[in-house]
Symmetry: D2
Subunit: 286 residues, 4 copies
């Protein structure tokens, strides 16, 4: 699929007769061949969601004019439209603190071609993952965060992210809470992994909370970051059985395999443009 020259269109709109027809007619008229089309209607809100991908090989509109050609349709149907060209791999920066299992997993999956994106930087408030970034020849920004310097550090981070033209950010166990100002710059474009089955055990030390409550399943959640802590739209969740035999350190060891799995799942869905956000929930197409 990596080599196909294709366009992906994400659509949110009030539901209305003829929506699918209008879009498919546009693609057909300009000689695009549909590769995937998925739609969803949220009946409680009368909202329409669609992801449609088509082959651009014989498409008669140049890539950079597709959106303007669609503009009249967008206006008439009151659509929210996003267009992506598949060959433009999204640019990401990974933020990490000391715990490196998610970073390792992302880097190797990326190297193996399972995550078609461009990693342009690794940011950390600790130096411990520098050698890993070096191994993968990635720029590493060591930026320690203290209470008094936090705002200043975030400004510096944002400046670099902007300069690197980063499309989205992955928090791979980054243990600093980002400010609302920072988050506002990347709405639905910061993916975090929280080490619990949200909304259970939000906030600090979720494994300790889970262990203390005596749950029988340990969980992990990937979600977009919003300005309410651990409350953003959930992208994926997974659990694994635990028992009285498992010490806190075994809760953590089991959970870390989940974190890796759930985070790379969410990143993959994001870069395949399969996620739509509405009402603090997600539509995640298969």
């Amino acid at each position: 699929m990596g080599d196909v020259h294709s366009a992906i269109l994400l659509i949110c709109a009030p539901d209305k007769e003829g929506l699918v027809y209008t879009i498919t007619e546009f693609i057909y008229r300009h000689h695009g061949n549909i590769l995937h089309a998925e739609q969803h209607i949220d009946e409680t809100r009368n909202s329409f969601f669609m992801r449609i991908e088509w082959d651009l090989s014989n498409f008669t509109i140049p890539d950079d004019e597709i959106l303007s050609e669609l503009e009249p349709t967008r206006l008439s149907l009151n659509m929210d439209l996003k267009l992506y060209i598949r060959s433009h791999r999204p640019r990401t920066a990974i933020f990490v603190s000391r715990t490196d299992h998610c970073l390792v997993d992302l880097l190797y999956k990326w190297k193996n071609g399972d995550l078609p994106m461009q990693i342009v930087a690794v940011f950390s408030n600790h130096e411990s993952t520098k050698s890993l970034a070096d191994t993968f020849q990635l720029p590493f920004y060591y930026m320690p965060v203290f209470k008094e310097s936090k705002a200043q550090v975030e400004q510096a981070q944002l400046a670099i992210l902007s300069q690197l033209q980063v499309d989205f950010i992955i928090l791979a166990r980054y243990m600093q809470v980002l400010s609302p100002e920072f988050i506002l710059r990347y709405p639905s474009r910061i993916i975090n992994v929280h080490h619990s089955f949200l909304p259970a055990f939000s906030g600090a030390k979720p494994y300790e909370q889970a262990f203390s409550r005596g749950v029988k399943l340990v969980g992990s959640t990937a979600h977009y970051v919003t300005d309410v802590l651990d409350d953003g739209p959930i992208i994926g969740q997974q659990v694994m059985p635990v028992s009285h035999q498992d010490s806190l350190s075994e809760f953590i060891a089991k959970g870390q395999d989940l974190e890796k799995h759930v985070l790379s799942y969410a990143v993959k869905k994001h870069i395949e443009r399969k996620i739509l956000v509405f009402a603090n929930k997600t539509v995640v197409f298969d």
Copy 2:
């Protein structure tokens, strides 16, 4: 959803530009509002699959003329088309032997409205489930099967099924192997549950086989019946952990919860017309 007057169209065709457009244009032109549309392209075979459901409230073609109106399109695009009207609940007969947990589960889910179908008969080669059929006021056909009478019994069953205008058959732990002649009458319309993770442990006594092999997961598979035993297109599969602590009878007890779950899942997908069969596999839409 039960009250919406809607049509469901299942399409298989060689992939070609304009397929989605052609269908959606047809629906739009006749004032249908699309409720669901899912498509899948099997790239290895260049095959196109689609399920599309639309509201018939304002549709300008009478239900019984839709197919003939679509005929020219069908011919030109070489489509395999099936049309269903949602309010026509499919008619089913359940076949069962002695073990009744799947039958019980189906009957109660049906009673609760979770399985929108018409159960028109229960067939069994044992009398033990008669009282259950009685409780639900269902005709019960007790037809014991012996080697020498098998062909004759099947003829009698087929006659009744035909008279009852049965659309599809559920084998809810029916322990008789149906003849190829019988199966041919209901292609992709007989759903069986096999108590293993197929293709492991096909044939007789799958729990005994699994126990003896020392597997760590017990499984269950729902599939359409073909004339090769336990080899038909798989609709759904599920597993549950087992350990050395589990005796054979515990393998069975755990597996039976899976059987119920997997069979009712498959039946629900079938009656929602969400399954397409090709190359001995299934497309099962969400």
Copy 3:
């Protein structure tokens, strides 16, 4: 296993050298053959837990003198001891409201011999499950509950439970909150199923809460009832994937299969005397 004449001893004690030895020596000296022995040490509390089951065929102490023979040991080691004779099937009463899927599941598993207990009564605040109780020839107590009569109804229920010598109570989707006074009479002996992955979505309408939060897994939890709502020791939990495609009613349908599974799992563990409670958690032996 049902026919073995065996004793089960559950032990909680402060951890100390020689505990296992002392118990196994006692059994060996009196010619018991150990069938199962499982122990657990909670290191954070220095607590010792054990379940040991032995064959009584050649045991030299009569069943009803075992505890008194163990008394000196119990005192010297500061043990909390519970003794059960396997052939004495525990007596249970099932409480249910309108939703009957858990009740159906329990009754059929019980009939099939998978739940070796005596069901002595079904209590409900609605009349709808009476015919089901009748089918299984079980006494049915229809006791509607209103705010002003609640205390009085509970007194009546407790009187019947006492008269019926009920050992433990199953809340199979009983939608009334029991008073602390009621619960105090059956400590760690009332099993409830809550239709969420606790501690997420405790309280009312958990499916609605889960749907609204946009979780990607729907869950179910069986736990012992304590006087804090939905906060008692967790016995078992299970989850199933859901997606944006699932309406609230599909959340419920999927969740109900989990509820059945998790509740019958917990009941089975309870009647096999495999659960020990401490610090608001459970030890659940395999």
Copy 4:
């Protein structure tokens, strides 16, 4: 746990009254404090299995004399005994071919302290993982295998393994079939991961087989290697849902996360001495 000076005893024996007593009396008499004790009786074979771990801090027998002190007991009860001192971390060699995800996962879990073993060498028939071994400062043996040289290569491998005093071998996606002579040297001490839910899809190209069969769950199995290909005692198995949407490459990507998880689970159980083998099955204690 890593710092506790403890002994682990694994016992297989014909079941007999007094087995547990005899062992616990021995430990108690010599002032050992039991940390864990788990036993299992296989009733179909009348076999007794036990794992018992005790603190050696105050134990009155030196580590290297424990087995000889137990010798009379062993003889009288016809036991198969294995003794391990926890602080003696087992020595392992990892075999790998080109696909490196399992190797990466093992190395990082090992580095993080989750797998308390000594990795003393990495063997490969390809050079591609050399730099990874270098990063972790591990000796790397590049030994290409061809039909005519296979016996010779195995002799060289065995010589090195012997010299390095390797206790067990991990096949982390090593795509060569070992000879029966090689396997005989490490009975129940070679752990392999097979990328399917065995016994389904044994042999070559399991993902291709699974994809072609149209299964709805992709699986992975860790097992001890015996001289029948993919037929050894199963240690762990896990599955993940797949659908018609998943291409073969997505089957592989999903399965690889399972492989990592299942293999590291099996390795951890092995080094914690929690696995007993009998009748081509395993007892895996929690």
